[in-house]
């Protein structure tokens, strides 16, 4: 899942980005308002973490513009302003969640995960497709009752397919949601990773779950 962090205080920005990357997300960052808006409009992010006091353009203005353009990203406002009227204003401007500084990082990560689930309309933290189960909090996958060892990137890819279970996910979409901005663009990489994933998930004797739709993309579901 792809996250954009827009925050001007460097230490905070880089620490949040690092923490989220280590939690398995693909994270991009921006240090000013205009830069953040430009990036948000240029890519399909799942969650945007937005500070309110930004140089060049304040957070609420960015939020308004994103909502006007019907940007699909879920926005979490991260700010030092904690008065109730500030929270009301933020949420009324179109934010999906609000967290005040300073905060416990684990809480930020959990809220981001919840926002991702909400975006894909999956309420429960455990995703199930057939006998495949994904624990989105622990970022673990289980097939037929046995845990499957996955790298972070592999898990992220599987999670995307699971959240869109039953729907065809194109390579571009996979690319957009699992890889960061400065990764080298190469559609072959997606195929290679799908191959790795299949090797781990599909077992002889167990029904196939990852299906190829030639010319379109991939879909995760029980039967072909």
């Amino acid at each position: 899942m792809r996250i954009l962090v827009i925050e001007d205080y460097e230490l905070l920005r880089e620490s949040v980005a690092q923490g989220l990357r280590e939690a398995g997300f693909a994270v991009d960052t921006a240090a000013t308002g205009p830069q953040g808006l430009w990036q948000a409009q240029g890519e399909a992010y799942d969650v945007i973490i937005l500070d309110l006091m930004l140089p060049g353009m304040d957070g609420l203005t960015i939020l308004k513009k994103l909502r006007e353009k019907k940007n699909a990203a879920h926005v979490l406002i991260l700010t030092a302003k904690d008065a109730p009227h500030d929270r009301v204003r933020g949420l009324d401007h179109g934010a999906d969640d609000y967290l005040t500084k300073p905060f416990v990082f684990a809480e930020l990560a959990a809220r981001v995960r919840a926002l991702v689930r909400r975006k894909y309309d999956a309420r429960a933290p455990i995703l199930r497709v057939g006998d495949l189960a994904l624990d989105t909090a622990a970022r673990t996958a289980w097939r037929a009752g046995r845990e499957v060892e996955l790298s972070a990137r592999e898990y992220a890819l599987l999670e995307l397919l699971a959240l869109r279970a039953g729907q065809v996910v194109t390579r571009t979409e996979i690319w957009g949601h699992v890889y960061e901005m400065d990764s080298a663009a190469d559609s072959n990489v997606v195929d290679v990773f799908i191959g790795h994933l299949r090797k781990k998930i599909e077992q002889p004797g167990l029904p196939r779950l990852i299906h190829t739709r030639r010319g379109h993309g991939y879909v995760l579901k029980e039967e072909a």
């Binding site: 001007d8 205080y9 230490l11 923490g19 030092a80 990082f105």
Partner: protein, 482 residues
């Protein structure tokens, strides 16, 4: 400090009582004087009548027979008295009241009086009616006449020299005493009653009159200690109290503004510290979330330390501002050689200026000496230099100038600032205000630098102002020469 009401009451009551007392006494004295002069007139008339009845003939001086039979000289209770003497002291006649009824002859006096007869005295010479103790030990008034008695017609031509005689007549004053006592009592009663009535009326008037003051006190008390937005209603306030109301309202406005500023400042300060704190917390939490290699730890430690130093600076600046606000700064002025002093302040920024390829121009007279507090002035200059170096355009220029004129020293620090907007100018000295350029400087600046400069300059007896001219941001600091 007594209440207004008791002061007014005491004053008016005392004045009223004194006034009425004086009035009463004056009236009493006037009445007494009138009564006494009436009495004296009667006494003198009686004496003169008796004198008219005194005649001298060939046998000597004697009183006409009827005179001694006048009833007032004969009665036993509070009689009147008279006595007639010759110049040599011989008593010629006495009123029956002076003659003892039952007492035996005891002694003879120098006046030739007989037995224990009572006497009047004329030793003080002729006088108008004056108080005397009568022979029956009662108070009275006595008049003494010295005259030549009427000569009997027959002896007028005999050539006999006339004698001079003394006549003393004494009358009781018990009657008028009683009258005067009655009058005195009446006057005392009336004056006392009038005083009490007047004091009563005064009390009502005073209470009525002071009501605006008590009402005002009530309205002032009603202004809540927590809600300073209230003001006291000026309408209906008496003229004497309107300055009080106006001043109080002004004070309330100033207090309200000051408290709002303070609340905003405290809120801003806490707020400003949250972001660096959040940075620290997240950096440390993420670093600690899994094992890492030494280099990663070192990097995290270095970043956190930088953040801590930034917060430390902010806290120190805040404390300084708070002390300056509360006027708790100690200023000790001394002569400072300007050029070396400014060079020292500059030393900390010189490296960064070189990094950013800034061209620095110095216009400081080599021999200039200023009189100020070196520590505080050093802080001001340090702040100004840091700001200028940080926000000057890359490869821009910096000007540091010192000029003395009209008893003041003027220091200017200017940096090229093409990207600065005039809309920002009114805010530059506000606390926690940062230009966008400042904010993207990795949180190193918290927006207190210029606010602190201005506050410190005020404490040093000077001022700080800023202008934006021809793409250059100029801060001018002025302070007295001594």
């Amino acid at each position: 400090m007594q209440s207004l009401r008791s002061r007014l009451m005491l004053g008016t009551a005392a004045a009223t009582a004194a006034l009425f007392a004086l009035l009463g006494v004056a009236v009493f004295l006037a009445v007494r004087s009138a009564i006494l002069s009436e009495f004296d007139a009667t006494l003198v008339a009686k004496a003169q009548a008796l004198a008219a009845m005194t005649e001298q003939d060939s046998h000597g001086v004697h009183l006409d027979f009827e005179a001694s039979q006048l009833p007032e000289f004969q009665r036993s209770s509070k009689p009147e008295y008279f006595q007639l003497w010759l110049d040599d002291g011989t008593t010629l006649a006495k009123s029956p009241s002076l003659i003892a009824r039952h007492s035996p002859v005891t002694s003879t006096g120098p006046a030739g009086s007989a037995s224990a007869d009572r006497q009047l005295s004329h030793s003080d010479g002729p006088n108008d009616p004056s108080p005397v103790v009568l022979p029956d030990d009662r108070a009275g008034r006595q008049v003494v006449l010295h005259f030549q008695p009427r000569l009997d017609d027959e002896d007028k031509d005999s050539g006999k020299s006339p004698h001079m005689v003394w006549l003393a007549v004494g009358y009781h004053t018990s009657g008028i005493e009683r009258i005067l006592r009655t009058i005195a009592g009446l006057l005392a009663g009336v004056c006392g009653g009038a005083t009490i009535a007047a004091v009563g009326v005064m009390a009502l008037v005073v209470r009525r009159g002071l009501r605006p003051a008590t009402e005002l006190a009530g309205r002032i008390a009603a202004v809540g200690a927590t809600d300073l937005s209230q003001r006291i209603e000026l309408a209906g306030t008496p003229r004497e109290l309107s300055p009080v109301v106006q001043r109080t309202n002004e004070l309330l406005t100033r207090l309200d503004a000051a408290l709002t500023r303070e609340k905003a400042f405290t809120a801003d300060a806490a707020h400003e510290l949250r972001t660096p704190l959040a940075g620290l917390q997240t950096a440390l939490e993420v670093c600690a979330s899994r094992p890492r290699d030494a280099q990663a730890y070192q990097q995290t430690l270095a970043s956190c330390l930088r953040a801590v130093r930034g917060m430390h600076r902010m806290v120190e600046n805040l404390l300084l501002l708070a002390r300056a606000d509360a006027r708790q700064l100690r200023i000790t002025k001394e002569p400072i050689a300007a050029e070396p002093f400014l060079q020292e302040c500059w030393a900390a920024c010189a490296g960064r200026a070189a990094e950013r390829r800034l061209r620095v121009v110095w216009r400081v007279p080599a021999d200039a000496v200023v009189n100020s507090d070196p520590e505080k002035l050093g802080m001001v200059m340090g702040n100004l230099f840091e700001n200028a170096v940080a926000y000057a355009d890359e490869s821009g220029d910096l000007l540091i100038a010192l000029a003395e004129r009209d008893g003041v020293c003027q220091l200017q620090v200017a940096n090229s600032a093409r990207g600065m907007e005039t809309s920002a100018m009114p805010h530059v000295f506000e606390r926690f205000w940062r230009s966008d350029a400042a904010r993207s400087e990795a949180g190193a600046h918290c927006g207190l630098g210029l606010a602190l400069c201005r506050k410190l300059m005020e404490a040093l007896g000077g001022s700080a102002t800023a202008t934006l001219e021809e793409g250059r941001f100029v801060v001018t600091v002025v302070f007295p020469r001594s």
